[in-house]
């Protein structure tokens, strides 16, 4: 018996180690491939110039259009999603706390939305903007990406708010706070470090997604100057330029991949470091 248990222990430890190693290997391979192809193409010109002679054929210029476009899009979408998510998350945890069944339903619903493929959001955004007679634009992209990341942000905030002890709520009410005061003066401050994580998580998802902006934000060689103009984005810069037959253009795609990977990596590392230390 002890013999069997000993080997059982060894076997499963070995198995866990093996699969962990495979995952790490794959991750390192991906980063290595992108870095190998992309880093040599990185230059000041790449990050500081718009493509010249068209993003598909032009050998000159860089991907400033996509870098700036992605930031405009992701920042605006994150702000919009935050404005919507904060009241919803607080409402769930202050007012709906009495209706546990309803809350379970809402959380399930949001988790389903979290899992909906982003192309579906893209299609939804596209339908919406056709209906409104609007065209591909930064604004339409912002709305679509915001719709995609709002459920993520609400659930991430909700998880933070759920950990606030009921004692703090009791203390707040005992001092004579109303529910709104408890929500925005006490819960908000208590959850702030966790909210930062939620925001970064949503931002990372927003900046890296290609499918939701494919039909809605369009693509252009220029940095957009208003919400009604179309915009380029990093994921689409990779997608479109990689399919070009011209090597210089393909290299721009790899450079875009390096930049996007770096942004997402930095975001997830900072999100991890911001986690409350308690």
């Amino acid at each position: 018996m002890t013999f069997r248990r000993k080997y059982e222990e060894k076997f499963f430890r070995g198995l866990s180690f093996l699969f962990t190693a495979i995952i790490v290997f794959v991750l390192v391979q991906i980063i290595w491939t992108i870095a190998k192809k992309g880093v040599p193409s990185l230059s000041w010109q790449i990050v500081s110039q718009e493509p010249k002679g068209g993003y598909y054929f032009g050998k000159e210029g860089g991907i400033l259009n996509a870098i700036a476009g992605s930031f405009y899009l992701a920042v605006s979408a994150t702000v919009l999603a935050f404005v919507i998510s904060l009241p919803v998350a607080l409402f769930m945890n202050i007012y709906l706390i009495k209706y546990q069944r309803l809350l379970i339903g809402i959380r399930f619903f949001l988790d389903v939305l979290w899992g909906v493929p982003s192309i579906v959001y893209g299609a939804f955004g596209f339908t919406l903007l056709m209906y409104l007679g609007y065209r591909n634009s930064l604004g339409a992209g912002v709305v679509t990406v915001a719709a995609m990341i709002t459920p993520i942000m609400i659930r991430a905030m909700d998880e933070v708010l759920k950990t606030i002890p009921i004692g703090l709520q009791e203390a707040s009410y005992a001092l004579g706070s109303t529910k709104t005061e408890t929500a925005y003066k006490i819960f908000f401050r208590e959850a702030l470090p966790g909210f930062a994580t939620a925001i970064l998580l949503a931002f990372g998802r927003g900046i890296g997604d290609a499918a939701s902006v494919l039909f809605t934000a369009g693509y252009t060689d220029y940095v957009p100057r208003s919400f009604s103009e179309p915009t380029a984005t990093l994921p689409l810069a990779i997608f479109f330029q990689l399919s070009s037959p011209i090597e210089e253009v393909q290299n721009r795609a790899y450079a875009a991949a390096v930049i996007l990977t770096l942004i997402v990596l930095v975001l997830s590392i900072s999100a991890r470091m911001l986690k409350p230390k308690k």
Binding site: I97, L168, S172, L175, G176
Partner: protein
Amino acid sequence: MPSTIETMQESNIKVESISANVPIIEIDKLNVYSKGSHLLKNISTVIPKNKITVLLGPSGCGKTTLLKCLNRLTDLYPELKVKGSIRIDGEDIFDSGKDITTIRQKMGLLLQRPYPLPMSIYENIAYGLKLKGVRNKKIISEKVEKHLREVALWDEVKDRLKTSAQRLSIGQQQRLCLARGLAVEPEIILADEPSSALDPISSRVIEEEFIKLKSDYTIILVTHILRQAKRLADNVIFMYYGEIVESGPAEQIFENPQSEILKEYLKVGH
């Protein structure tokens, strides 16, 4: 102290009014149910002004539930159904026309462990004042100092009032929570085993504070520590399985217990 004890027979439960003092809280036929269990059974009692009333009893006997009924924190728990009436200064707190925030401001609350608000030491005390509409910075600053002195915390924190209250030691946090509660000028202090998470020194400070505070405040203290009850109580309400078994002046409860359960509890407790 005249201890006129009148005994009422009410649905088999013996209820004795505590003593001939000015009542501040009158509880009448209070019942609390939770998912098929009956947490508080026909509680009727009177809590006198400017005394320390101790709710004594083993864990799970309904002491904390009774305490939370008093400022309607039971509203927070959807599973609790509360019936009966509680009058504070003659006003029924379950009257839906009454503003619950004003009722709650009559009572300071001290929980088993401190929950400082996520802000600075200064703001923790200023918070309740601001809710009451005090805007004058000078008045707020004076109040902050006064109440921090009241709980013997001023000298320890006066140089770091702007730092986060969550960095204080747990004993200091509990005293801060007391000061925070006192700042809204309550009449009553509700304390739910306030020293259970504290070291002996901090818990003695809290106890000493209670003795000093009782000339101005009515204190209702939940505890299962018999020695603490003996040190502090003017009146004792002894509870067991959601019922008041015996209540009265402290010396009568401790020296001359009537019921078998209380006798047993006093013998086993230390």
